[in-house]
Structure formats: structure tokens, C-alpha cells
């Protein structure tokens, strides 16, 4: 990446009076306006509730989900609190407990995400050392009529599936 | 070719029997001993230039002086825990001439002023410690040892139980105290070892066994053998691909190749020599071209980047895979590390595991780097010299035979 020296603008009189620049900008916007007015078919707007977006990728940060282990479909989370630590909104509540089935030592007894407080920054996914929390559910709208509806608990988070096919097996 | 000082009686049948031993001049030095004061004895040893024959090659007289000067009940501990692969000379003394050892112990005890002596025999030498025990019992009966004797020396045979590290003197003393054989931290100033807090002299069997000759014949007689820096003889052991493996006593300063040719009968089946490990498994390997130059003394081998160690040579012919050889040695080191300090505990096992990849020919260049870097990490950062020894072995193999390791890299 080389360095490009850009000359400072506003030196000539034409530039100093701004009006030519303003008018050329206005010309540009007007062209868009008239083009779109005479033929609206090129506008890529989606009619949302009827037409759903089809290009949501796993990188899209939707509602969180908790993944399952490949071996036995049990919860992958070990309640390390990394997500809760990284969370800038402090919207994750975890209560850890001893894991009795011998797969691991620790698991969350309670794992709640308050989606009303969540800012969907994705830090929890970055922080997770076990790939136990993901935001690849593709769910971009969360609906509820009570505050409690937005607090997703462990069971709910485990039940959400990922959108990409290869990870489908992880989500049951 | 052989110079028999210590091994004089080895060929005599039943030399372990007191009668036979007495006939063959054992305990002859005890008369001379009565004429010498302890300090004179130590000076004598100093003059003779006797060096510790357990591998380090430190002047014995200095150690004696230290133990002698320190206040307290003194102990003599004889290190018969020879576990070095390729080394089996002490076993010859124990089995074939135990009375030489007892005689040496009496002399040494006299010199440092000790009455109690322990012989720490490695656990595997069950047979030989039994022979030794019998000899000691005989000596007690004949009042050579014990309260009734002139020098009132008590000897106890203490059996180890299979730990190479107990050959290290501080670990040996720990073991003798009834603990796990963990080496102790090194002292900051010259001082003797301590057994239950009392000053203790720890010497190798062969060192002690050399003492009667010096006492009997004087320092100059001993100095007549060997080189200036390394006077006397050493029981050189030979194993591996030689026609006649065994223990042969020889003067210091003999040519190594000459020695192998003449006493060992050359490389087995007339094959070409590839390398020799000169002094037990903990010394860096010497490739053939260096073997032809090497002389059997401490200084010469040090200059060649190896060490004389205990003088137990392992000869390898042209068919030997050096990777396998190193793996074998590192397996030994991993197995025998006491696990006290980190570099040794983790380093040996890591190298051993990495060498598995070389054996399986799945190694990468990174693995070779690991060998080198771990060897660096182990060197000079541990309590005892076990890890540095392992490190020098790895370095030796990698220095001279790196091409063979490179061949194992995918």
C-alpha cells in the first residue's frame, strides 16, 4: 500500500465559491431521481414481509444459539463465563454447575441471554473458546409481547438451529 | 595391552572368597596404612592425581579433603549404582574382587576419619550384592571390619531399587536417607555432601578400589601410568558391535580405535565402524572419523566435543540407524528422569515423543527444530546434570548425523 498524496481542494476560485460543486452534486442526485422515477424496475428494494431475504450467511449476526457437541449432542458450553465477560451490554447471565455425566466437568445450569439488552456485537462468539455460542441462526427479528419473551434461556438457545447446512448436524 | 591395577584379580577364580583374596595380596595395604596419618593419606591421593571414576573425573583428593575438614560424624558412601547404559565395570569389582573394594573403603575411611560406610548397590545387581554381602560378612568374621578390627569400619550394603538418577550423588544420598531419589540443590561453596546433615564422602566403586594400590605403592607408582592430567588406569567397558565385548583395564591416553581394534577385536563381522558412544549413554556420540583421532582420556575427548564419562564404549557399525539409537537413549532418559524439575521432566518426554514421529517418518522440519530447542531448554537449567546429559546426547546425534534425521522428514 503506497502513499498517495491528495492535493488539498478549495484552491481555485471555482472551488472556493462551492456553487459549481453543489450544482454538480445536485445534478448527480437528480439523475438518480429521474432515472428511478421513469423506470423503477432497477431498484433492488425487497418487499419485506412477503419477500424474505435469501442471502443471509452464517456470518450474519442473528439471534444467538448454543451449539451441541459432535460426539453426543450434549451442550457444548462449559460455562467459562468468557461471553459474559466480553459482553459489553452485560446481557448474559450464567450460573455454572458441576456436570454429572462425565463428558466434561462444568456446564451451565442457567444460561440466559436478554435480547433486549443485547447489542448484537458478536463479542460473545469471538470470546467463546468452545465454539459453544454462535449467532448464525439467521434470525433477524425477535418477536415477543412481554419482556420475559426476550430472555432466551438455555433450552431455547439450544433449540435454535444454525442456517448453514454443514452445521445443521450440530443443532438438534 | 591391558594394564591390570584394579582388575588384577579378575581372572583369578573365586577371588571373592576371603582366603583366595588374601592369597592374592588383598588387604596388603592395611599395614602401610597404619604408618600413615589421615592427612598424609589425603596428600598421597592428591599427589597420585587419582580422579573420580564415576564419570565426572574430578580429583578425588580434593573431595576427600573437603569431607575430612568438615566437622561432624563422617560417612563414606560408595556409589555402586552404576546404571549408565554401556557401563558395567563396577559390577566386575563387586562380583570378582569385592575385597579390593572393602580394602579401599577401609583406607578411605581412615583418610577422612569415618567409621561408617555404605555401599549403595543398584537394585538390579541382586546377585552381585549378595556376593559383596558375603565378602563383607567374611571380613567381619575375620575382624577386618567391625568393632573388633583395627580400623573399626562398618560397611552396610544398601540396595537401590531401580532408579538411574540415584547414581547422582545427592540423589543417592536422598535415596539412602529413605526418600525419593530427587537430586538436591547444588551448594554455593565447596563443601562435602551431607548424609542426615553429616559430612559425607561419596565415591565411585572404582575410585575406592584404586586406593589400595596407591596406598601400597605410593603416588609415583600410580602416576607412572596414564597421562599427566589423567594418571592411572580406567576399567574401559566395551559393548555393542565389537567382537569381544567386555571390560578391559587400560591406561589413560590410549588411542580409542587402537583399543577397540586390539582389545575388542574390532567391529563385529568385519563391518565398517559408524560411531562410538565413548563413555556411557550420557556422553555425546563420536562418528567414525573422530574415533580414529580420539584418545582415551578426559581432555582429549572433551576437545572432540564429547566426554570420557565412565569409559563404557558402545560401538555401532554401519547398519545402525542413528534415529533409532537416539530414540532408544531418549526412551531411557524419559524413563529414568526423576520428574523433579520441569525442563528434564517435560523435555525428555517431549523429545522422546517427537522422536517417535521420526521413527514413523512423519516428522517435519518443525520437529527437528523442537529437538534442538528442547535440547537447548534442558541444558544448564536444572538441578542435576541429568538433563544436560540428555541434551548433550541429542546435540551430539544432531551434530554428526543430522542427515539421517532429515531423511525421516516428510
Amino acid at each position: 500500500m503506497g502513499t498517495r498524496i491528495v492535493e488539498r481542494h478549495g484552491n481555485t476560485f471555482k472551488e472556493k465559491i462551492y456553487l459549481p460543486a453543489i450544482f454538480s452534486g445536485m445534478k448527480s442526485t437528480l439523475k438518480h431521481f429521474t432515472d428511478n422515477l421513469s423506470d423503477a424496475s432497477n431498484i433492488p428494494t425487497l418487499c419485506y414481509p412477503e419477500q424474505k431475504p435469501t442471502d443471509i450467511t452464517p456470518r450474519y449476526r442473528g439471534v444467538h444459539r448454543l451449539t451441541h457437541r459432535k460426539e453426543d449432542d450434549s451442550i457444548a458450553c462449559v460455562a467459562c463465563f468468557m461471553c459474559a465477560t466480553a459482553c459489553p451490554a452485560k446481557c448474559i447471565e450464567i450460573v455454572a454447575a458441576e456436570r454429572e455425566d462425565g463428558v466434561d466437568e462444568k456446564m451451565p445450569k442457567v444460561f440466559n441471554i436478554d435480547l433486549l439488552e443485547c447489542v448484537f456485537c458478536g463479542y460473545c462468539v469471538e470470546a467463546c473458546p468452545c465454539d459453544a455460542i454462535r449467532m448464525d441462526s439467521g434470525i433477524y427479528s425477535v418477536i415477543g409481547d412481554k419482556r420475559e419473551d426476550f430472555i432466551y434461556n438455555k433450552a431455547k438457545l439450544l433449540s435454535i438451529k444454525g442456517i448453514s447446512k454443514e452445521e445443521y448436524s450440530l443443532a438438534k | 595391552m591391558q594394564t591390570k591395577i584394579v582388575s588384577k584379580n579378575f581372572d583369578i577364580p573365586h577371588a571373592e572368597m576371603l582366603e583366595v583374596a588374601l592369597q592374592n595380596g588383598r588387604y596388603g595395604s592395611l599395614e602401610k596404612l597404619s604408618t600413615l596419618k589421615p592427612q598424609e593419606l589425603i596428600d598421597l591421593i592428591k599427589q597420585s592425581g587419582l580422579r573420580g571414576k564415576g564419570g565426572g573425573g574430578a580429583p578425588a583428593g580434593v573431595k576427600w579433603q573437603l569431607a575430612s575438614d568438615f566437622e561432624g560424624t563422617k560417612y563414606l558412601v560408595v556409589n555402586a549404582d552404576e546404571s549408565e547404559p554401556g557401563t558395567f565395570k563396577d559390577r566386575q569389582i563387586l562380583a570378582k574382587d569385592p575385597h579390593l573394594l572393602i580394602e579401599g573403603i577401609i583406607c578411605t575411611c581412615q583418610a577422612i576419619g569415618a567409621n561408617i560406610s555404605y555401599i549403595y548397590v543398584r537394585g538390579e545387581y541382586e546377585e552381585f550384592s549378595a556376593i559383596l554381602q558375603r565378602a563383607i560378612d567374611e571380613a567381619y568374621e575375620k575382624n577386618i571390619l567391625g568393632i573388633g578390627s583395627t580400623y573399626k569400619v562398618d560397611i552396610t550394603v544398601h540396595r537401590g531399587a531401580g532408579a538411574y538418577i540415584c547414581g547422582e550423588k545427592s540423589a543417592l544420598l536422598e535415596s539412602l536417607e529413605g526418600n525419593r531419589g530427587h537430586p538436591r540443590l547444588k551448594p554455593h561453596s565447596p563443601e562435602p555432601e551431607f548424609y542426615f546433615g553429616e559430612p559425607t564422602l561419596v565415591n565411585n566403586v572404582e575410585t575406592i578400589a584404586s586406593v589400595p594400590f596407591i596406598v601400597q605403592n605410593g603416588a609415583e607408582a600410580y602416576r607412572a601410568y596414564g597421562t599427566k592430567e589423567s594418571p592411572g588406569t580406567l576399567l574401559f567397558a566395551m559393548s555393542g558391535h565389537v567382537e569381544n565385548p567386555g571390560v578391559y583395564e587400560a591406561e589413560f591416553g590410549l588411542g580409542m580405535w587402537e583399543y577397540i581394534q586390539k582389545l575388542g577385536g574390532g567391529v563385529k563381522k568385519g563391518k565398517k565402524l559408524k560411531a562410538v558412544i565413548p563413555g556411557g549413554a550420557s556422553t555425546p556420540i563420536l562418528p567414525a572419523h573422530l574415533v580414529y583421532e580420539a584418545k582415551l582420556d578426559y581432555e582429549s575427548l572433551r576437545d572432540l566435543g564429547s566426554a570420557l564419562g565412565t569409559g563404557g564404549m558402545i560401538v555401532m557399525d554401519e547398519d545402525v540407524s542413528m534415529v533409532k539409537a537416539l530414540k532408544n537413549l531418549l526412551r531411557f532418559y524419559r524413563h529414568e528422569s526423576c520428574g523433579q524439575c520441569t525442563p528434564c521432566r517435560e523435555g525428555t518426554s517431549w523429545v522422546d515423543k517427537t522422536l517417535d514421529k521420526f521413527i514413523a517418518k512423519t516428522a517435519t522440519h518443525e520437529d527437528l527444530e523442537i529437538l534442538k530447542s528442547v535440547s537447548r531448554s534442558m541444558n544448564g537449567k536444572t538441578i542435576c546434570v541429568f538433563a544436560p546429559a540428555a541434551s548433550s546426547v541429542i546435540d551430539g546425534f544432531l551434530k554428526h548425523f543430522e542427515s539421517e534425521f532429515l531423511e525421516c522428514i516428510v
Binding site: L19, M26, P44 | -
Partner: protein
Amino acid sequence: MNTVLILLPLVLTILYSLATVPILVWMERRIAGLIQDRLGPNRCHIKGVRLGGIIQSIADMMKLVFKEEFLPSHIKNKFYYLVAPSIAFMSAFLTFMVIPYADTITLGEQTYSMQALPTDLGVLWFLAFAGLGVYGIILGGWASHNKYAILGAMRATAQVIGYEVAMGLSLVSMLITYGTISLNEMVSYQTQSFFIIPAWGIFIQPIATIIFIVTAFAETNRTPFDAAEGESEIVAGYHTEYGAMKFGLFFVAEYIAMAASGALIVTLFLGGYQLPYLNTADLVNNFELLLWGIIIFALVTSVLFLKWMQKHNIFAMSGINETKLYTTLIIGFTVFAVILMSYYALANSSQSAKEIGVMLLQFAIFTVKLFFLHFVFIWVRWTLPRFRYDQTQKLGWNILLPLSLVNIFITAVVVVAGVNYGN
């Protein structure tokens, strides 16, 4: 009858200014959408009728009106807090009152001015009440007890005070040119023409026009001079703490102020309600010819519009078939209008009818010009970025003020020279 005719302009003005707001909001959204390659709001509907998205504006208005009124608890000066939006609204509303949207008509003996407030003060009235509008902002910002609000209010105040000077001075040069302060007289002045160029303010006083338009943008707090509500820095400026209809009043006031400014610009610089070259008397005298012209124009326009509508009205909603409905309506309305106008064109109508007909035509012309101005306002908004606050002040005091002074000087010299040495 008399009272009705006097009150008619008033009522019309109120309706006019209020009815423009939802349309302006709709225009703002749709034009913004089209400029940015989007569609803009087009889904809100009543039984499938969307009117191109205007229903959305109506829905928003309904929402603002019916939303729960609440007072943030931290507000101490409840009276000022509540009175601020109404001040803003009222002053914006009052400025609109003096705009003439048609020539004075004479029905029988009586003449009727087509202004809500038939005053000769004209421009001065506008200045006076445009200046009062700032109190709404000051009070709103101050009473909100919120640092963003007060910052916005201070910015707005400083801006309005600063630009009012330049605006007044640019008006002075127009007054010198027109030789009157009455808006009606100004409009009639602009029916003249020099050679083929109509004597519109924009052609005879371009500098004053630019200054006025710029200051009008600033006075109404429109982009690029909307630092007062710069949402990237100070949330929403002075109305941060307002909600529901209190906010609605501010919102409406802003659009009415914009409409008033636009109307004044039309009146001062774009020939007002007049067509170029044609004064009212000409129009009244050639009324039939005019009607035929309009009939042809109406037919052409409706056919073009119909085609365009049918091409673009593609997202079908449940309920009524919209395209069909619109087609029917457009055809029906055109046919009705054409028949009506043909009747008047064929029948020899009375003088009063002609006067009223011309009045309606002028009203339509005024509306078209005004909406063009609105389009410019919106167009500028979605083109230019916001000025930084110091740039705004610098522009106002360092450039526009001296420029307008110079303009006055030149104008005065030219006018005096014209009076003394011309002819």
C-alpha cells in the same frame, strides 16, 4: 356572503398549510428513496389503496396525534416545555398567512385579497414572525433540561439570529427593486418582461435570490443548515425530549416554515401565482382560449400519468385492485374535468366566473411552483451534507452579510440611476 368570502382565504390558507405537511412528508420520503435508489414508503394502505405511499404519512400523523402524551419527570418548567412547540407552530403558521396565492379578485363591487391576512406589511410580517419562531426552539431546548437539547437550541438561535440579518438585507434589495413591500404588487411587477425574459426576481436579482434561498434554508433549519438537530452529535437537538403531538407540532412547524419560505421565494423570485408574460387581465380576457389550452394539457398529462402509473404500480396488495381503481379514477376525473371545462369554454360565462376561474388557475400555478420549490428543498437535503456549526456561522456573517450589503449598494445605484437618467 361577505364574511364567508373574507374568511375563505383564511380557512383555505389554514387547510392549505396543514394539508401540505403530510404531502411534504411523503415527498420527502419518496424523493429521498428515489435519489438513494430505494422505493420509499409504499406499503401502508387502506383496503389496498396506498395513494403511492401518502397513507403512510397520514398514518404517521395519526400516530403522533393519538400517542400518549407524557412529561419526562426531570422537567421542571412544565409550562415552558409545553408552550414551546405551540410557539414554534404558531409563528410558522402566522408567516404563511400573508402569502397571496392568487390575484385580488373583484366580484361585483367588492375586491377580495387572496391572502389570509390582507395586510400591506407583506415581507415585514414574514420577517417578524419568522424571527418569533426561534422562541419555540429556545424554550423547547431550555425547558427540556437536557444538554443535547440546549446545545441544539443554542445552535438554532445563533443561526437564526445570524441569518435573519442577511435575509432582511437581501429582501431590502428586492424592496428597492420592486419599490414596494406589498407582496401583491411585487407579483404584478413580475408579470413584466425584459425582451423575452420574464421580470422574475430570480432573473433581475440573482444574488439576492441565492442569498435569500440560502438564508431561507438556514431559517427553517433545513439541511445543509440543520446542525441544530444534528442527530450524529446531539441526538435530535432541541426536540430530543419531546414526544407524541408535542413533537408533532415541532415537526409540522418545520414543514410549515418550509412551505412558507418556499411560498415567499415563489412570490418574490419566481413570479408568484402568475404565468410568465401573462398578467391577470390578459388571462381574464382570453379565458376561453386558456381553457382549451388547459383541456389539451390535461388530456396529455393524464394519459402520460396513466401509463406511468400502470407501469409502476406492480406490487399488488390484498383488497381492491389498485391499478384498476386508479385507472378508473384518472380517466373519470379527466373526462369530468374536460367536460366541465369544455362547457365553460363553449358557454359565454360571466365576468365573475372568469375571475374565479382565473383565480383557480393562479392558485394551481402557485401550487405547482411551490411544490417545485419543495422539491428543490428536498433535493438539496438529500444531496448536500450538513455544514459544521462554525462553517454555518462563517457563511452567514462573513459571506452572505457583506454580499447582501454590496448587493443593496449596487441595486440602489442602479435604481437611482435608472430613475434619474433612464428614459
